[in-house]
């Protein structure tokens, strides 16, 4: 079960001809797939394409009606390998994942797929996680397109353009027997918008039809001599076919006047940002009526020589707007112009930075530089001769505003795992700790600051494999359940068994692929109608040959977590020590349980709501608890008490009562300030009876104490 319900979105997939779809960009792509007559879809979740996977997972009925196969692939490699269904059969297939990390994993399958080529249209929908808010290394997908010779679409970021690109992509793929990648940037995936829908199309040939009538052609298999032939085919047949399709169907666009002394060539994905920069300079408007010619590359690979030379003909200078590095487009366009003997000056990286996201400011600054140098008459007066207008000196807040990176959610079951690890390190000293990809990577940040490297999904333990020296302090590595099933079982666990690693491996099992939105995986505890779940990680680990395996069923038990880690680090047993630490992702658990609890409360059933609190007078404000928590609901509160200098701990109403505060206070012997309140709605007769009895006796004790004591009622706060 994904963390968001897509019941409403699923209905949008049923829209027919002439209706209007409204929603996120990634959902528009999903609808476009169905309108394109796609026969099968697969992929691996991850921002920004998770919603595509989630919606399809929730729309099994529609897919069944249309005869479309959908699968949640084990990895990006599995998703891309799945596209082999389009090699011999004229079935349209699509795979989706985040990039560049997904392409890194998929590249083996992608290269094989691209070598033999395809019969049915195949589309890879690549969610680019680049720039602000990105969670991965900053690289480009472009090189994967050029090295494997796969066409790359980069459409303008609006719904009609993206939907058209999906349809064009399939047609282009079929026309050139080549897989096509559709690159969508993260903001375009999440942008809201609308487009006019068409009817969904049932695939002309379904996977069922294909299975019933198998075909094969030896010359499509990647093995010599066919592989040599594939390379020739790419150059002699597929590339020219692609170019003529792109030219004939005008996949690339032109805006602004037909002629001009200068012009701009840009990636489709950059269009809105470039138009805004021009608009701010008075050179375009809200509707894209630009006053300088623009050539928009909705296809960034391959480039069409005639289009480039044609656009540059008669221009003094052309600016290339190409986000990221290396500057593949600029270099390629430079070569095209040079070969054509063009005198047009090529401007790009320089006024625009080589690396980093092209934000509004970057584009504006770059455009001003370009125009100042090559088209000063076009610039507004103010930009041509910047008049230093006195601006109020706004104080610099960079030393004031604290950084706020993402972190563990309120009640996250991974927090106590790292609290325990911190306690173990306090006792046994620091260890080499390797991290993996997933929510648990937040451990590297304050307050835990645990973990020194992350080498890729499912590769945490593998990345610690060099650290083997008998008798030395053991390494600790973390891996999430998502990474474990993605490839960690073989790359990390199998590798550790085979090489007789002596380190400690902690599998953080939160029942979902949680960081990507709470999708089910093999070890999920939920019953999934279309997927096989409930496969215990411990069994897989044992099957791999690990002998020392421990299962923790409640990670919030910090004492147990600490003890098992200590045991793993100090036991005489050699070979990998695997601890599977399992508790459900709190975000998903709350989404699952909250409505049920509300319903039960309404129905008059006994419902217990847990929350933690702090006794302010007991708390001394040393914040030791925060250094073992970092929970968003545990904050600081300044008291209105002249005797107290430092703020005390305070727990707000967002607390979900996970128990970490109390457990940590106990395990680390911190302080007795925390208390847990279990408020009981619709108490049973027994609850009421015991409460009355307890209250009466407690009241008596309190009265007795008060009688003998001088009482100064709390003066401070309410």
């Amino acid at each position: 079960m994904a963390e968001r319900s897509f019941a409403r979105e699923v209905e949008k997939l049923r829209l027919g001809a002439g209706e209007t779809f409204r929603g996120e960009g990634i959902l528009a792509i999903t609808k476009a797939l169905l309108e394109s007559g796609v026969g099968y879809v697969g992929g691996y979740q991850g921002a920004p394409i998770s919603h595509l996977m989630d919606v399809l997972a929730d729309s099994q009925d529609i897919l069944k009606e249309l005869g479309v196969h959908f699968e949640a692939s084990a990895s990006e490699a599995a998703a891309t390998a799945m596209l082999a269904a389009s090699v011999h059969y004229p079935i349209r297939g699509a795979a989706t994942f985040k990039s560049t990390v997904g392409l890194n994993v998929a590249s083996d399958a992608l290269a094989n797929l691209a070598s033999g080529g395809v019969t049915g249209g195949t589309l890879l929908i690549i969610g680019e996680d680049y720039g602000e808010g990105s969670s991965i290394m900053q690289e480009r997908s472009h090189s994967f397109a050029t090295k494997s010779q796969v066409w790359l679409l980069d459409p303008r970021p609006n719904h009609p353009s993206i939907v058209k690109a999906v349809k064009d992509g399939f047609a282009l793929s079929e026309a050139s027997n080549t897989p096509v990648m559709l690159e969508v940037r993260i903001r375009a995936c999440h942008v809201t918008g609308a487009f006019e829908t068409e009817d969904n199309v049932r695939p002309p040939l379904t996977v069922r039809d294909a299975l019933e009538a198998p075909r094969r052609k030896t010359d499509r298999v990647v093995l010599p001599p066919a592989s040599y032939q594939h390379e020739q085919e790419k150059i002699e047949k597929r590339l020219p076919a692609a170019k003529s399709f792109i030219a004939a169907n005008r996949l690339n666009e032109y805006f602004g006047p037909e002629t001009g002394e200068i012009g701009v060539i840009l990636q489709g994905g950059m269009y809105n940002g470039v138009n805004r920069a021009l608009e701010r300079l008075g050179l375009s408007d809200l509707y894209g009526d630009a006053r300088i010619p623009m050539h928009v590359l909705n296809v960034t690979y391959p480039l069409l020589e005639e289009e480039i030379t044609g656009f540059c003909a008669g221009k003094r200078a052309v600016m290339i707007v190409e986000e990221g590095q290396p500057a593949y487009l600029e270099d390629a366009i430079g070569a095209i112009l040079y070969r054509a003997g063009s005198s047009c000056k090529l401007i790009g990286k320089g006024p625009l930075p080589m690396a980093g996201e092209y934000t509004g400011q970057v584009l504006l600054d770059g455009m001003v530089t370009f125009l100042r140098d090559h088209g000063p008459s076009l610039l507004p007066d103010a930009a041509r001769a910047p008049n230093a207008e006195p601006k109020p000196e706004v104080p610099d807040l960079s030393g004031v505003v604290p950084g706020r990176p993402p972190s563990f959610c309120t009640g996250c079951p991974e927090r106590p795992i790292f609290a325990a690890t911190k306690l173990v390190e306090q006792e046994l000293g620091p260890h080499h700790i390797a991290s993996d990809i997933g929510c648990h990577l937040f451990s590297i940040l304050p307050p835990f600051e645990i973990g020194g490297t992350t080498m890729g999904y499912g590769l945490g333990p593998a990345s610690a494999s060099a650290f083997k020296a008998d008798g030395a302090r053991r390494s600790i590595s973390f891996i999430g359940d998502g990474g474990f099933w993605h490839n960690g079982l073989t790359s990390s666990i199998g590798n550790a068994v085979f090489n007789e690693q002596d380190g400690v491996i902690v599998v953080v099992d939160n029942y979902y692929s949680a960081a990507t939105g709470g999708q089910d995986i093999l070890s999920s505890r939920a019953q999934n109608k279309t997927k096989s779940t409930n496969h215990p990680i411990t069994q897989a680990v044992k099957g791999m040959g690990v002998e020392w395996v421990r299962q923790i069923d409640r990670t919030y038990d910090v004492n147990a977590m600490r003890d098992v880690l200590t045991e793993a680090l100090t036991t005489e047993v050699t070979g990998p020590k695997v601890i599977v630490a399992s508790s459900e992702c709190m975000l998903n658990r709350q989404r699952r349980e909250r409505p049920l609890r509300a319903k039960a409360k309404k129905a008059g059933e006994r419902v217990v709501t847990r929350r933690f609190g702090v006794d302010e007078a007991v708390c001394t404000g040393d914040h030791a608890c925060m250094r073992l928590s970092g929970c968003p609901s545990l904050g600081l509160k300044h008291l209105d008490d002249p005797l107290r200098d430092d703020p005390v701990a305070s727990i707000d109403e967002t607390c979900v009562g996970c128990g970490n505060c109390g457990e940590v206070a106990d395990a680390a012997v911190l302080c007795p300030s925390f208390y847990r309140a279990d408020v009981i709605d619709n108490p049973s007769a027994w609850d009421r009876l015991t409460a009355r009895l307890n209250q009466r006796v407690i009241g008596w004790m309190q009265n007795r104490r008060e009688r003998s004591k001088l009482r100064l009622h709390e003066s401070a706060h309410v």
Binding site: A47, P48, G133, S134, S135, R187, A188, H190, V191, N272, R276, E279, G282, D285, L286, Q361, L379, P380, A383, P386, E393, P395, L397, V401, R404, P406, S407, C409, P446, P447, N559, G613, D615, A617, T620, H623, A624, G630, L636, P642, L643, D646, P647, G662, E663, A667, A668, L670, Y675, A677, D678, I680, A691, N694, Q702, R705, R711, H713, S715, H717
Partner: protein, 509 residues
């Protein structure tokens, strides 16, 4: 930057950015704004880098909108510095971040910001007070924003049983920065169909702006004192003694007196005032800084955090009513669990001093006992047994003066005050700062031990500093360094600096 080159006939467009922290409903607010604009026949586009937003990080949502003229507008997908009309910040430091990033500019931006704080982790983990200075953001937003609507929007949202997004939506309606009627805003909330009543209530709080109530209701009236006539008379007599103190120190001494009497008894209050008097008599400063510091820190030192105090605080009647209010208990049943982890140290410290010392002097016995005592105990203070146990411990109060802990605390206190008195003979400011160092001692068990060692470490610099003009300043710096991090790295660095310029051999660790 330069003047904007927009054509005078440029079509209307409104650019609105929302800066929020995960869990504040930034996504919901964004959807509301888009639905509002579309319901009014405008084009609207929203985008965000979601996903990470769930995970408590700072997130920007961005919306552009323009009236429908029959043509499709080309909207930008991200806000640009100097190009934002309305900025909504769901938290005060996020407002600061917006200014820092240039999204709030005096020529165009209406800033709608909640002044409440949700501290970032880096602020929380500091042993002292790591909270970012809100007043610096205050100064900056006043300069940066064209129009400013700033008040605590979190409190009314929580009080309405809703989320801050609803209050912000109300404040947006109230700001008049969108050309739509408030009723159109309300319609959007009604159509959303979820938690409508609570959201509308919070919305109206935002629409109406700040209420006149103080941010945190404080009971200002004098605390009621209840007790026997003899007790009341004795306490009144002590309070009369306050007027003998320098005027600036009286309020602090009154608070201190209340604290120590509450901690032990009226006699203890007398001891406290004797100690404070000792400094007041030697204080000639017009602001009586020394006496203020003495009144404050002697009270804290005397009201140390022992087991008896914890048990006492946890069994008081007003504690239970406070928790009832905090948990919105009303007439529901409630279980209350305390998390205690007693060790042999705590047990010994509560025993009569000689017995406690006798056990502590026998490591094997004390280890044997510790194995039986040292574990986490969950105590249910809503039950007769759990409450009764703590109640009995709290009942040890009349015997507190005889405990080992009291002896240790009193000796420590006297040693410290003796140093202060000695220092006072030559350096008033340094003596005052020496008093202030008491702030370093807090926490329980290991944290308390660490606090004590930091306190000793800071005071170890006294011999090096004595006689220097800037001695007090340096002692203050050392104390502040000690409060910066858990392990005292900053303190060690600062101490090295002191040692380097005093040219003295390092003090023994």
């Amino acid at each position: 930057m330069f003047d904007r080159g927009e054509r005078p006939d440029a079509p209307t467009i409104i650019k609105l950015a929302i800066m929020a922290v995960g869990g504040q409903g930034g996504g919901v607010l964004t959807n509301w704004v888009v639905e509002l604009a579309e319901a009014q026949g405008w084009h609207a586009q929203a985008t965000a880098v979601a996903g990470v937003a769930q995970r408590t990080g700072a997130t920007i949502y961005y919306i552009e909108m323009a009236p429908d003229t029959g043509r499709a507008p080309v909207f930008s997908l991200a806000p640009a510095p100097g190009d934002v009309d309305v900025l909504i910040a769901a938290e005060w430091m996020e407002a600061g971040r917006a200014v820092m990033r240039g999204f709030v500019t005096p020529d165009r931006t209406t800033l709608i910001a909640s002044t409440h704080r949700a501290q970032a982790i880096v602020e929380k983990i500091v042993p002292g007070d790591g909270t970012a200075p809100a007043e610096e953001v205050d100064a900056a937003v006043r300069l940066a924003a064209r129009d400013l609507i700033a008040f605590d929007m979190q409190r009314p949202a929580v009080a309405s049983g809703s989320v801050i997004s609803a209050t912000l939506f109300g404040a947006l309606a109230g700001s008049g920065s969108l050309p739509f009627e408030a009723s159109a805003f309300e319609d959007v909330i009604r159509r959303s169909g979820r938690g409508v009543d609570a959201s509308l209530k919070a919305f109206l709080c935002g629409l109406d702006g700040p209420s006149d109530e103080p941010a945190t209701p404080v009971l200002r009236e004098k605390p009621a004192v209840v007790g026997t006539d003899a007790q009341l008379a004795a306490y009144a007599k002590l309070k009369d003694r306050l007027s003998g103190l320098p005027e600036p120190a009286r309020e602090m001494a009154a608070a201190g007196l209340r604290k120590v009497v509450d901690f032990q008894d009226v006699d203890y209050g007398g001891e406290y005032l004797d100690l404070v008097d000792g400094f007041a008599a030697r204080d000639g400063h017009p602001e009586a800084l020394l006496t203020v510091a003495a009144a404050k820190h002697i009270a804290n030192a005397m009201a140390y955090d022992d087991v008896i105090r914890v048990a006492d605080l946890k069994t008081r009647r007003d504690r239970f009513s406070r928790i009832d209010a905090e948990m919105n208990r009303a007439d529901r049943a409630m279980h209350l669990t305390e998390f205690m982890h007693p060790r042999i140290e705590e047990v010994c410290s509560t025993l009569p001093a000689r017995l406690g010392q006798w056990i502590e002097d026998r490591p094997r016995l004390s280890a044997w006992l510790d194995r039986r005592i040292n574990r986490g105990r969950r105590v249910r203070t809503d039950t007769i047994w759990g409450f009764g146990m703590l109640w009995l411990v709290a009942g040890r109060k009349p015997h507190r003066r005889g405990t080992l802990r009291h002896r240790i605390e009193t000796e420590h206190r006297d040693r410290w005050l003796e140093i202060v008195h000695e220092t006072l003979a030559t350096d008033y400011a340094l003596a005052t700062e020496t008093l202030n160092c008491r702030r370093l001692i807090k926490g329980y068990s290991d944290t308390h031990v660490r606090g004590n060692s930091k306190f000793d470490k800071v005071l170890s610099a006294l011999p090096l500093l004595e006689g220097r003009e800037d001695a007090a300043d340096w002692l203050r710096r050392l104390r502040e360094a000690a409060l910066q991090d858990e392990h005292g790295k900053a303190l060690d660095g600062a101490l090295k600096t002191v040692q380097s310029f005093t040219q003295e051999p390092a003090p023994a660790p």
